[in-house]
């Protein structure tokens, strides 16, 4: 019964690692260990990412020609709906919080586990149940409402498996809520002695703020989708004007969740990047306190801007103005973060292993995505740009260029800690560059398409848009290749990679003060924290950046 665990067999010299605590399938599926649950999450969201990615691939192939020749219009609509639904709720939202967050939060604050381990496992099972229901809806015939489920199309007109898809999202929402609740309580109650709030790594701040959003926004989505299903089944007029409802009510409720949800998707990435950038610049993060406050500000103000998705929806002009000005306010803390990361590099002693490449990619692409958000927040401009490919480019820059890159960066950064193995840094750097190049080729042309007026969710399009679409599709194939690489060399490293020491990057967090992989109880003895985080010093330069980091490169050329 050791099929799953076999490739993860840890070195015999570390029999106490969490990976060697049991090899049976049962020891994984019934585990209460946050580290194992994190791995369960990682495996499942990776699978779902490739499902969503396959839909994206089909979309891009279809859009090579203006005519709708590869798939029918119905199928196309189902493809982008499932792409959006899966990528948002089954990949990106759980991505960093439920994997890296789950694994690292207790380690970073010096705790033995999350506060509610059983709830944590339940959260994974809920995720699984939601995924099964949604994939079931996909296999049964799909859904064609778009990920936004706008009424009255979703309630009275679509004749696809809307209820099933919504049920899947509803269930996975509770998985999110439980993860968030667990993390909030853990960060409040289980910090090691001496771990004051302003000694927390920014990653912890980010995941904490994300959790607050998860807990307060997700129930709104759950109830809104329930009401939508209710209207669809019983024909009660809440959202449908023909029955006497108000379709904008649905949009308000949906975006009250979904705008904060975009910060659920980006804050964790910001946390990861803050960890990596200080470590690889060997320098304390610039303006630590400001960074922490900025995270909180984004989380709170992020709740006040949802109406910017409704500038042409028929919402009142005055509401539009309120939401627009608030959208500019929320951009300020993001701006602070970009400036502070840049300043962190100043007078650092910078290393360029794969995690840092991903991180630099994040900073640049997040900035471009965020800056184009300012175009969309500008009322009169959004009137032109909304529901065009400009929006598509905007959010893929942040969500793929930003968060997915940060996720990959984090996986590479903590891989030695999680698995106790070193991967090939050369391959990793190659993949990072490939992804970066492919990404820009895919999505930059989409900004131009949007400005020129190419509407989104279009199966067929006017011929003058073709050249840019072809460029985008070409980019997508490079991007797909880039995304296929990391699973290959990372899995390879599980068997063939060299063993990692406790602290291969010579990094400063508590997670590096325990063995790699960590023992089941995380720490032999709970550490006592005596100083602020990010105890790096550029002057010490190379000598501080561990022996092993350089070996990473060496092992690459060997394998």
């Amino acid at each position: 019964m050791n099929t799953i665990a076999a490739p993860l067999l840890p070195p015999s010299e570390r029999p106490d690692s969490y990976l060697s605590a049991g090899y049976s399938v049962r020891s994984w599926l019934l585990t209460h260990d946050h580290k194992r649950i994190a791995i369960l999450f990682a495996v499942s969201i990776t699978l779902l990412f490739f499902v969503g990615g396959t839909a994206a691939a089909l979309i891009r192939i279809e859009l090579i020609t203006p005519a709708g020749d590869l798939v029918s219009a119905e199928t196309y609509n189902k493809l982008f709906t499932m792409h959006g639904v899966i990528m948002v709720w089954f990949f990106l939202i759980p991505s960093i919080p439920a994997t890296l967050g789950n694994f690292l939060i207790p380690l970073m604050i010096g705790a033995r586990d999350l506060a509610f381990p059983r709830l944590n496992l339940l959260s994974w099972y809920l995720y699984l149940a939601g995924a099964v229901v949604t994939i079931g809806a996909l296999l049964a015939g799909g859904v064609d409402t778009g990920w936004t489920f706008y009424t009255p199309f979703s309630t009275l007109f679509s004749n696809t498996y809307v209820i099933a898809a919504v049920a899947g999202v509803f269930i996975v929402g509770f998985s999110s809520i439980l993860t968030g609740l667990n993390i909030i309580v853990t960060v409040h109650e289980l910090r090691a002695p001496g771990m004051t709030w302003f000694r927390l790594p920014l990653f912890v701040w980010a995941i904490y703020a994300t959790s607050v959003i998860l807990v307060l926004a997700t129930p709104v989505l759950a109830m809104t989708l329930s009401l939508m299903a209710f209207e669809r089944i019983f024909r009660i007029g809440i959202f449908d004007p023909q029955l006497g409802g108000d379709p904008l009510l649905f949009q308000h409720l949906f975006w009250f969740y979904s705008h904060p949800a975009v910060y659920i998707m980006v804050l964790p990435g910001m946390g990861v990047v803050s960890e990596i950038i200080t470590c690889f610049a060997r320098k304390r993060i610039f303006g630590y306190r400001m960074m922490a406050y900025a995270i909180l500000a984004i989380a709170v103000i992020g709740f006040l801007v949802w109406g910017h998705h409704m500038f042409v929806s028929g919402q009142s002009v005055y509401a539009g103005m309120v939401f627009s000005v608030l959208s500019y306010l929320v951009a300020i803390p993001s701006a602070i973060k970009v400036f502070n990361w840049t300043a962190t590099l100043y007078k650092g002693s910078i290393h360029f292993e794969a995690p840092m490449l991903y991180t630099l990619g994040f900073v640049g692409l997040f900035m471009l995505g965020g800056l184009t958000g300012l175009f969309l927040a500008a009322l009169a401009l959004d009137v032109h740009l909304t529901d065009t490919y400009f929006v598509i480019a905007h959010f893929h820059y942040i969500m793929v260029g930003g968060t997915v890159l940060a996720y990959l960066g984090g996986i590479h950064y903590w891989w030695p800690k999680i698995t106790g193995r070193l991967y090939s840094d050369a391959w990793a750097r190659f993949a990072a560059i490939l992804i970066f190049a492919g990404f820009n080729l895919t999505f930059f042309p989409q900004y131009l398409l949007g400005v020129a007026g190419m509407p989104r969710r279009y199966h067929e399009y006017a011929p003058e848009f073709q050249v840019l679409h072809v460029l985008s599709s070409a980019g997508a194939s490079v991007l797909a290749l880039g995304f296929l690489l990391p699973p290959v060399y990372l899995l390879w490293s599980l068997r063939r990679g060299e063993h990692a020491t406790a602290n291969p990057w010579n990094a400063s967090g508590l997670e590096w003060r325990t063995s790699s992989p960590p023992p089941q109880e995380n720490f032999k003895e709970i550490p006592v924290v005596t100083g602020p985080p990010y105890d790096y010093s550029p002057q010490e330069g190379d000598s501080m950046f561990g022996q092993e980091a350089r070996e990473l490169g060496a092992s690459a050329s060997r394998s």
Binding site: V325, Y346, K347, E464, P538
Partner: protein, 319 residues
């Protein structure tokens, strides 16, 4: 060039203003982006771990007050810039929502998956909208089923079209020619085929085009006919014995309601009066008017509205 960047030049005065805003924002954000990326590249090269650059006195550790000041600067300067952009864009947005009073009205009914156009003179079109160059046009739009969105890239304007409500959109075409019309709110299977053309003609040509169509009644005249055949005139007509409000000077005026408030009698109010008469009952009348829901199509409602509007015009505009 046009294949790489299929950008239609602005074809209305407001579109030109949107382009200026777009350009300004591109310059501003582009400048910021280039600066930051340049800084990142310079730092990465200069402070690569094996260079001998001077790394002493890095700001984060020592000069605390300077750090503060820098941080304050890069909080406040963007904030001011952002507020400037906001005001500029909001002002333009307001203009986009304030049609000139003399705008010529055209009714649009959207349905899966076509655009139905009704001109005031009774001319109808499908997926085409002919307009004269140089005259402000105001579209009054509604949908028969789901939400659609009326998007004309050349005018840089768009507006969602909702069922059960009227939304408006206006423009003044500056250049003659044919421009894309796209539906930009996802509305089901053939969403991407719900497209059409805006045909902007020189005014003389437009008059000729209008004249060339089959002879027909104006919208208001058709409305008047409906008003009789549906039996509205039995209650609202001059000789009616039922106690019902006269509709002559209704349109655009405030109406006192039985529930206490007042509403302006706009298109939506008239529409609701026909379909859900119990919703807003005029003060001094009893709610005996039957609902006509299911008996009149969206187009017919628009004809009735046109008729009731025309009643006001024949009485002289309200003050």
């Amino acid at each position: 060039m046009n294949a790489l960047f299929p950008w239609t030049p602005a074809a209305s005065p407001l579109a030109g203003k949107v382009d200026v805003l777009l350009g300004a924002l591109t310059a501003l954000t582009g400048g910021v982006a280039v600066t930051i990326i340049a800084l990142i590249i310079v730092f990465c090269l200069r402070y690569r771990h094996n260079t001998k650059a001077d790394r002493t006195r890095a700001p984060a550790d020592q000069r605390h007050r300077a750090t503060r000041r820098i941080e304050l600067a890069w909080t406040i300067i963007p904030l001011l810039l952002f507020l400037g952009v906001f005001v500029w864009a909001a002002d333009l947005y307001y203009q986009q929502h304030a049609p000139p009073p003399d705008a010529q009205q055209v009714f649009i009914v959207a349905k899966q998956w076509m655009w139905k156009v009704q001109h005031a003179d009774g001319r109808r079109e499908i997926d085409q909208l002919h307009v004269p160059r140089g005259y402000p046009i105001k579209l009054v739009m509604t949908s028969q089923d789901v939400i659609h969105s009326f998007f004309v890239p050349a005018f840089r304007t768009k507006q969602d079209v909702l069922p059960g409500r009227y939304t408006t959109l206006w423009f003044t075409a500056e250049r003659a020619g044919r421009f894309h019309l796209f539906c930009t709110e996802y509305c089901g299977t053939d969403h991407s085929r719900m497209t059409g053309d805006i045909v902007v003609m020189e005014p003389e040509e437009y008059t000729r085009w209008l004249a060339s169509g089959p002879a027909q009644q104006t919208l208001a005249a058709r409305g008047e006919q409906l008003f009789r055949t549906l039996g509205c005139s039995g209650c609202h007509g001059a000789s009616a014995t039922v106690h019902a409000p006269p509709l002559e000077s209704l349109y655009g005026r405030p109406v006192a309601l039985a529930s206490g408030g007042t509403v302006i009698a706009d298109e939506l109010y008239i529409r609701d009066s026909i379909l859900i008469p119990t919703k807003d009952v005029a003060a001094g009348y009893s709610p005996i008017m039957p609902s006509f829901a299911g008996q009149v199509s969206e187009e017919q409602i628009l004809e009735l509205i046109a008729y009731i509007e025309s009643l006001r015009d024949s009485q002289g505009s309200p003050p």
